[in-house]
């Protein structure tokens, strides 16, 4: 993707001036020619995007900085090669409005009654009273944000605060798609409404409630689809690819995976060799048996590898199968790679 690619933004229809939108606003004033416009979209849903504040070199620097400080082994960090970058716009639903309706509740009540014991002393006892029924109206503001597709691989969960603060741009899919990957929403708008109402409904529950019925509906709804920028970078080490997702607004690392630190392992190989040598020196039969078990163990690991089990946990870098090279590597390997560094 060219770094300085030109693209067309939604501009004033009268003077061509740039237009900045604020979340939840229905109308927009062109600051240049003072013309007022009503913003709308398909099915009344407005589509905006947040312009990336981080350009590609900054995103790569942020990723490199994370690699240097995020627990990745120094040698591994130096061996990682930058491979590719992709600017992605991830869709989020934003819903503002009111959740209004009613709540009908049946509650348990407790009544205190005075009783007299055989000595004539009065004491209080708590007894279950008649159930109390109440009805009340509900009206709350709704401020809901939800990913419009599965974004778990990008490590981004919500954009409520950012989209409320930063100016939005009107989206023009074709022009934006020329310089980036624009993800389409998978989750339908009706689902977002249901989720927002379910969230509002969850706040209605009360203690000691036996039964509750409610009816909630959305009013003065402002539903918008906001695309959020992230940089998806990939680094390579040998044949493996390590992805890094960088927030296109603030440069935070949202998701990353890197090879772990290398550790020196002395105990396992030295113990096995010493044991075999000791047994062979004092008891030839036992020594031969241990050596056979050792070979059998290696064969089992190979079988496990072929069936798809993760061998790295057992053998570190050795995944080549039961060969003499493999055996020697297992016995004399002093450096073991730790678990991968994962973020987000």
């Amino acid at each position: 993707m060219p770094e300085n690619a030109e693209y067309q933004a939604i501009t004033c229809l009268k003077c061509g001036g740039a237009l900045d939108f604020r979340e939840g606003e229905r109308n927009i004033l062109c600051k240049s020619c003072k013309t007022m416009f009503a913003a709308t979209g398909e099915a009344g849903i407005t589509r905006f995007y947040l312009e990336e504040k981080l350009k590609f070199p900054d995103a790569r620097s942020a990723a490199r900085k994370f690699i240097a400080t995020g627990g990745v082994d120094e040698e591994v960090a130096q061996s990682l090669h930058f491979q590719a970058s992709e600017l992605c716009f991830l869709p989020f639903w934003r819903l503002l409005g009111y959740a209004i309706g009613w709540r009908w509740m049946e509650k348990e009540t407790v009544v205190k009654e005075q009783e007299v014991d055989e000595n004539g002393r009065t004491y209080e006892v708590e007894k279950r009273g008649a159930n109390e029924v109440s009805f009340e109206t509900v009206a709350t503001r709704v401020d809901f944000s939800s990913p419009a597709c599965d974004l778990s691989s990008y490590g981004l969960r919500g954009i409520a605060t950012v989209s409320a603060v930063l100016p939005l741009k009107g989206i023009c899919y074709e022009s934006l798609a020329k310089r980036s990957t624009v993800f389409d929403p998978v989750k339908p708008s009706e689902q977002v409404r249901k989720e927002a109402l379910a969230l509002a409904r969850s706040g209605l529950k009360q203690k000691d409630m036996l039964r509750m019925e409610n009816e909630l509906t959305l009013s003065d709804e402002r539903l918008a689809l906001i695309s959020y920028p992230v940089w998806k970078l990939s680094f390579t080490l040998k044949d493996r690819i390590y992805p890094v997702v960088v927030d296109g607004i603030n440069g935070n690392i949202l998701k990353a995976r890197f090879p772990g630190r290398s550790k020196i392992r002395l105990f396992a190989p030295m113990f096995i060799i010493t044991l075999a040598a000791f047994l062979l020196a004092f008891n030839m039969l036992l020594g031969t048996l241990v050596t056979v078990i050792l070979f059998y163990y290696i064969a089992c690991l190979e079988k496990a590898r072929r069936s798809g089990a993760a061998l790295d946990d057992f053998l570190g870098v050795w995944t080549e199968g039961p060969s003499w090279d493999g055996l020697m590597m297992f016995l004399f390997r002093l450096i073991e790679r730790g678990k991968e560094v994962e973020h987000g």
């Binding site: 009268k14 013309t35 709308t40 979209g41 309706g101 009613w102 009805f135 109206t137 009107g170």
Partner: protein, 208 residues
């Protein structure tokens, strides 16, 4: 995916005189002072809406959607003001001229940070159901109209339920069986006076 543009901009200009209409960021109704006409965005165009100012004294003018409506319950139909008074337990007599008319439901057309207050305002006006007299004066200093007819109708349904007597509200079967039918909404501006942080309308004998 073939989409030319995902955000449409409609210039807010009076379709009759071509003047730019003043609008705030949340407005859904735009008022042309020169033509004394109200306009609402409908698709890609501005469509005319009926708007009238209710007579009365007051410096603050609040917009409301007024819907004629009909309530159907297992106990029968409540489609006149007189029948509605029975449903809500209002003992005030209905003037002879108003008896056969459909009840009017008042839903706020303005936004507030306190949505419960919006429901309460709508309830008080609906219970009072004042007869509206159109004032012969120009519209000035009105609160922004931020709720469209569809949004107001959603609110109107809840307002209607709040007006019925509390004993009937506690009857879950009754509340669930309520069926409401609304007629076409009209916008009206009601003047209020502000006294000690409360809104007064002397004509309707109303305090909010």
């Amino acid at each position: 995916m073939a989409r030319s543009q995902d955000l449409w901009l409609v210039p807010i200009v009076c379709p009759e005189c071509g003047r730019g209409l003043p609008a705030k960021e949340d407005d859904v109704i735009f008022f042309c002072a020169a033509c004394q006409a109200a306009w609402e965005l409908s698709g890609d165009n501005l469509a005319r809406r009926e708007l009238f100012v209710v007579s009365g004294a007051g410096n603050l003018q609040f917009p409301f959607w007024v819907f004629p409506f009909k309530v159907t319950t297992p106990d029968g139909n409540f489609d006149t003001l007189e029948a509605f008074h029975i449903l809500i337990g209002n003992v005030n007599p209905v003037p002879e001229t108003q008896r056969g008319k459909p009840p009017l439901l008042f839903a706020p057309a303005f936004s507030s940070g306190r949505p419960q207050q919006m429901l309460r305002t709508g309830k008080l006006l609906t219970v009072r159901n004042p007869s509206l007299t159109v004032a012969k004066r120009q519209l000035t200093g009105t609160s922004p109209i931020t709720l469209g007819e569809a949004a107001a109708k959603e609110m109107a349904r809840i307002i209607a339920i709040t007006t019925i007597t509390s004993e009937r509200q506690k009857n879950l079967r009754f509340v669930k069986s309520l069926s409401l039918q609304f007629g076409r909404g009209r916008l009206c501006i009601i003047p209020f006076d502000l006294r000690e942080n409360r809104l007064f309308n002397a004509e309707f004998n109303l305090e909010i």
